[in-house]
């Protein structure tokens, strides 16, 4: 390209980006979360919801054991139900799974002294019990997502009889794998000084770290791609929904962050086998219920090796692993994920549902 054609190409490109910006500005604030839900239980800022299936041909007989989704504290759980055609929860409901979800809320200054034990030994068991009571079941199936998976593992190890089946999704277990850049970066950080100084760790701060993993792509190319991409409203709305989710990041309770970073990340206690929560020894070898471990093959936040370490640590004889061909986010929202993931989970659960575990169709119960 000579100088003049270069300038022409550049001008044309900038005009296209301008058009893209105009089109984007026509799209309003995105709406997130699409499936009806009811509040079942509330404690402090934590809320347990039950999702309601849309009556119709998909309302098949449901599984009697409720599935409780335990999300990470880092982002908002509506990622599980972002929009009608990108909803793991809808996919599960359509396959007869009775879905409950724990929403940790937005912790504030009053929550800065919440600890790992509050989540693992108080909120999580209370939510699991509330879901079991509501579904008239004696135990729950538990699906832990990312950091929520790590907490779920601890809960399942502490209370193996209260969890019938455990599913972990993109869950870090071994935080010291050589490809884990986040761990490498955090090694030199004085976590005590950080928490003593700022208390709750702001979501914005965590986001800044995540963006720094791939700054060229995440700070520039992503936006150029949307401005230079298709102009249809649906694509722009999808983009804005994701954008909202990514940056709608609750603050992380300070003490919880301190303990999580020290015990799980720096000292890798889940792998080393020396984790204690409130004086109770937590061993992954006590996780004896069936486990389905789902990881993303191109995960830049939780490397596959960090998740797959679970295989050699859990005590169960019924361990299944599924590598999804995508990334940490794509595993929930990509078209391939909608086709593959809910079916895998529901099929795996159905195969382990106790005999006579299928209940009447939804709506038959009051």
């Amino acid at each position: 390209m000579t100088s003049q054609p270069f300038q022409d190409a550049m001008r044309d490109w900038l005009l296209r980006l301008e058009e893209g910006a105009r089109a984007l500005s026509q799209v309003g604030e995105p709406v997130v979360g699409c499936t009806s839900k009811e509040e079942i239980y509330r404690e402090d800022k934590v809320v347990l919801y039950r999702y309601l299936a849309t009556p119709g041909p998909d309302s098949r007989a449901r599984m009697r054991t409720p599935l409780v989704i335990c999300y990470a504290l880092v982002n908002r759980p509506y990622m599980m139900d972002l929009q009608p055609d990108r909803s793991l929860i809808r996919g599960l409901l359509a396959r007869g799974v009775d879905v409950y979800l724990i929403d940790w809320g937005y912790p504030d200054g009053a929550d800065r002294y919440l600890e790992v034990k509050d989540y693992v030994l108080r909120y999580l068991p209370h939510c699991a019990d509330a879901a079991a009571a509501h579904a008239r079941s004696t135990a729950v199936n538990l699906l832990g997502v990312c950091q929520g998976g790590t907490l779920s593992l601890c809960f399942a190890a502490a209370h193996p009889k209260r969890v019938r089946n455990l599913i972990t999704m993109v869950t870090p277990v071994d935080f010291r794998t050589p490809d884990n850049l986040l761990t490498k970066w955090s090694d030199g950080i004085d976590i005590d000084a950080l928490v003593d100084t700022i208390g709750n760790v702001p979501g914005e701060m965590l986001n800044a770290v995540f963006l720094a993993l791939m700054p060229y792509r995440l700070l520039s190319q992503k936006y150029i791609a949307i401005l230079d991409g298709p102009r249809d409203r649906a694509a722009l709305e999808n983009f804005l929904r994701m954008e909202k989710w990514i940056f709608d990041s609750p603050d992380h309770p300070g003490e919880m962050y301190r303990q999580f970073m020290r015990w799980f990340v720096k000292e890798n206690r889940l792998v080393e086998g020396d984790l204690e929560i409130a004086g109770r020894s937590i061993r992954l070898s006590d996780v004896k219920m069936p486990v389905l471990n789902i990881y993303a093959e191109r995960d830049h936040l939780v490397p596959p090796a960090a998740s797959r370490a679970l295989a050699r640590l859990v005590g169960t004889q019924d361990y299944t692993e599924y590598g999804f061909p995508g990334g940490h986010i794509g595993i929930y929202v990509s078209a391939a994920a909608q086709r593959e993931v809910p079916g895998r989970i529901a099929g795996w659960l159905a195969a382990r549902e106790p005999r006579g575990g299928r209940a009447a169709p939804r709506g038959a119960r009051g």
């Binding site: 390209m1 270069f6 190409a9 550049m10 044309d12 490109w13 509040e39 079942i40 239980y41 509330r42 404690e43 402090d44 200054g109 009053a110 929550d111 800065r112 002294y113 919440l114 509050d118 108080r122 068991p125 209370h126 019990d129 509330a130 079991a132 009571a133 509501h134 004696t138 009889k161 209260r162 850049l181 490498k184 970066w185 955090s186 090694d187 030199g188 950080i189 004085d190 000084a193 950080l194 003593d196 100084t197 700022i198 208390g199 720094a212 993993l213 791939m214 700054p215 060229y216 792509r217 520039s220 190319q221 150029i224 230079d228």
Partner: protein
């Protein structure tokens, strides 16, 4: 001129005159707060005085060997610490900016090489976007190398720690200011929140022991919690009896 003035050297007299003038200035109307002044204005003035005096202290270069002395020694210590934390943060920030600029420069070198190879292969760019995407690829490639290096990890952590230190020093100075105006401080709130957490924990323990309550319209969640807790207790006792 008095006899004493006549015998004083010029420099001493000049100093004394200067002090006299300062004293007179400070006693002029408006310099000393009086009871009938507007209260808001009084607070504003106090705040402005407080800020400006400590700003001056912060800007001053403190010889590290000098120990702060006198009535304001504690404040001075805090401002010195803040000034040195800021200097350390700026120093490390400059280093990391230099590293990132070097990444950009190397990315451009790599891009140039990629463009040359493409041209030699007879694959010219059709659109500017192709060049841009190639630049992104080169940038990420170089950045990934640097970001994983021990040197960068150490530097980034040092910058992170320096920013925490700076923030801590800023908080200390601000807390003193808030106390001055009898406003609540983060430390005070922390005490309250620590107690609140302990109370929440005790409340949860007590709720587990409460007898079952009849659900009413406005305490459904509490009733659900009680049911859940009871169920948990029953399950625990069953486990214990096995």
């Amino acid at each position: 001129m008095t006899e004493a003035q006549e015998k004083s050297p010029d420099w001493a007299q000049a100093w004394i005159d200067e002090q006299r003038e300062r004293l007179e200035n400070s006693l002029r109307e408006g310099s000393v707060p009086s009871g009938d002044r507007d209260l808001g204005a009084l607070f504003s003035r106090l705040g402005a005085d407080w800020l400006s005096s400590y700003e001056l202290l912060a800007r001053a270069s403190f010889p590290k060997s000098t120990v702060p002395l006198g009535w304001a020694r504690e404040q001075e210590r805090e401002w010195r610490d803040l000034a040195s934390a800021q200097a350390e943060y700026r120093r490390l920030e400059a280093q990391i900016v230099a590293k990132l600029l070097a990444v950009h420069a190397r990315a451009l070198d790599r891009l140039q090489q990629a463009v040359r190879e493409r041209t030699e292969q007879g694959r010219p760019f059709e659109e500017f976007r192709e060049l841009y995407d190639l630049w992104i690829e080169c940038g990420e490639e170089i950045y990934a190398e640097v970001a994983r290096s021990e040197e960068y990890c150490r530097l980034q952590a040092a910058l992170g720690n320096a920013s925490i230190e700076l923030r801590a020093r800023q908080q200390k100075v601000l807390e003193r200011g808030l106390k001055y105006f009898d406003l609540p401080t983060r430390s005070e709130l922390n005490s309250v929140h620590r107690e609140l957490r302990a109370l929440r924990e005790r409340l949860a323990e007590l709720e587990v022991r409460l007898p079952r309550q009849a659900p009413s319209a406005n305490n459904t969640t509490r009733a659900t919690r009680a049911r859940a807790s009871q169920q948990a207790s029953k399950r625990t006792s069953k486990r214990a009896s096995k």
